[in-house]
Point group: C2
Chain length 347, copies 2
């Protein structure tokens, strides 16, 4: 090995000072004369010195890394556009400050707990981003007890001392419902995510509220696990109803796209016989026929903000809850007046 990397001792020797002083100079701490500091910095730069992350980790008891544990079936995550964009956002906040993201994907909730314990006991990360909040989410107490700093994505339904970085789904769902009602729909159904997940139950609640606010009967709500398979099943069930809905609000895009397929397969036209709306704005939604009316969220911004908030928490700052721009409706072709002939636009 040729390139022995220089240590702080090398810098100290070369600059004719002590290790401690070099450390002080490098970390902008008082007690170093301007002149000496300049010299130390010059030598450090000259030698190409960069502190060993490992030594720094050991002595300062920090990992310089954040954790994200995704506890979902990979099959379901695969169809969902949320996490890649979210992670890209996290990355954009971490890269500039030399921090890293440790990602775990686990299938069940038991190994989820284990994973957090491992991250904490190995001190692999300084904090975690809690995504996919659940009802009375046990992770909130868990991370506290493990001494892990954390932020939550969205507001928990239980008291929490953790800063929440939230993006309100409500307005998006409500505009979708309002849009459909405006078009003349009266029997509107919702294919929701799992009710144990807060975004699942909150989107349902927003849906019900929106209908109630417009003095309409609550439409049927079918719960799913967010998978396309479950979205397909829910759609089949809804279309088999005696008073089948004329519109369905889906809790994510993969289910909406699957639902579209099921409806077409069953001989219904979309949006003629059935209007549908998605959630989360996948790219492919723009190109299917009819193009999917959906609700978009800024997942990337969410990731960046969550990571930045967590970094501040780790730095010891007090961080307030953060509210991002709410989800907004994007109207495309899959929603229309009930009974409209199928559109067939030119290419």
């Amino acid at each position: 090995m040729v390139g022995e990397r220089p240590t702080i001792a090398d810098v100290a020797r070369e600059a004719g000072v002590s290790k401690g002083l070099v450390s002080f100079a490098l970390n902008d701490r008082p007690g170093v004369s301007a002149e000496t500091k300049t010299r130390i910095l010059a030598v450090a730069k000259d030698l190409g010195f960069s502190p060993s992350l490992r030594a720094r980790s050991l002595s300062s008891d920090r990992a310089f890394a954040l954790g994200l544990v995704i506890a979902r079936d990979p099959e379901i995550i695969s169809g969902d556009p949320f996490f890649p964009a979210f992670i890209a956002g996290v990355e954009s906040a971490l890269a500039p400050v030399g921090q890293a993201l440790v990602l775990s994907m686990v299938g069940d909730e038991a190994s989820e707990i284990t994973t957090y314990r491992q991250l904490a006991s190995h001190a692999r990360v300084d904090g975690v981003i809690l995504s996919d909040l659940r009802r009375a989410d046990p992770r909130i107490a868990l991370v506290q007890s493990l001494g892990l700093k954390a932020v939550t994505l969205g507001h928990p339904d239980i008291p929490s001392a953790l800063p929440a970085v939230s993006l309100d789904d409500g307005p998006g769902i409500q505009s979708a419902v309002a849009h459909l009602v405006e078009l003349g729909h009266r029997r509107i159904a919702h294919v929701s995510g799992p009710s144990r997940m807060l975004h699942g139950s909150r989107r349902s609640a927003s849906f019900a509220q929106a209908l109630a606010g417009l003095d309409l009967q609550p439409g049927p709500i079918v719960e799913t696990d967010y998978s396309a398979a479950d979205g397909a099943r829910a759609t089949r069930d809804l279309l088999a109803l005696a008073d089948r809905p004329t519109a369905i609000v889906y809790a994510n895009d993969p289910m909406a796209i699957a639902g579209l397929g099921i409806a077409q397969r069953a001989g219904f036209t979309v949006p003629g016989d059935l209007s549908i709306t998605g959630f989360d704005g996948s790219e492919v939604g723009q190109y299917i026929h009819p193009a999917l009316t959906t609700v978009t969220t800024e997942a990337q911004a969410w990731g960046r903000q969550a990571a930045e908030a967590l970094l501040r928490v780790i730095a010891g700052e007090t961080v307030d809850d953060i509210e991002l721009t709410p989800a907004t409706l994007v109207i495309r072709e899959s929603s229309a007046r009930p009974g409209t002939a199928t559109i067939r636009s030119a290419m």
Copy 2:
């Protein structure tokens, strides 16, 4: 702070032996009498001792983590089912052995290089998995020069000392072509990935080869960046051709689904007027109408094998190239004899 975690010194004192011996006992190394070893292990367990990852990192100069750098537009990754499944596979190999995955997502190739340099200079990971291999991929030399252990996903097109963990796309593409030809198609086009990416150019090559092998004219190949948007554009272009193809083989599912939408929008029926096949087997492909004929790859197994191979490389073992089960065709509804009436199966 109440729970001061026990150190190896605590265990040593309690067991009445030296630190060194405890280390030996814990790591199953010779030189410890069976009796003493049992006692040491008992004490360690009793005290709830687990070695500090940081101290181990510093003294043994290992990170106990693997890196994966994804250099693609998050928008494109979002639609692609590959990475989530792949990462889940990686995770399944790492979790049992206490290793972690450090994930980076970068937008451009410049920051990609920077990222590898950072990972190496901070010694953040012990090795990296090189995915999305490109023509004359500079990362192969880069990781060598940085002293990073690595495995490649697929065989590079340049000499490489790195073990390759490969899943052959060829048979999948070839069966797709053979399937279409068998159905009677003669003008078959390919919407490919970027030619600078090896899987992009290899799928194209397999496509061309398959046609040649069946004594057919090479069909048009339109190159894309794998995005649904580009898949849509390519489809529009192909359908506008004077001798438009009767079948299109897409290099991934999002493009195939977008292509389906574009074709339908332009008034073509699928598979009546146009047959299409996808690649990578997204879940939603089963539920669209018509259900997507596609080529599936076992991304999760790939992730597990790649991670395991890399761990062995890091452990100093000699690792041979690994070939996984090749991609296979799954025939569904989007492919049929040219000129067939659109299917409309019952629900």
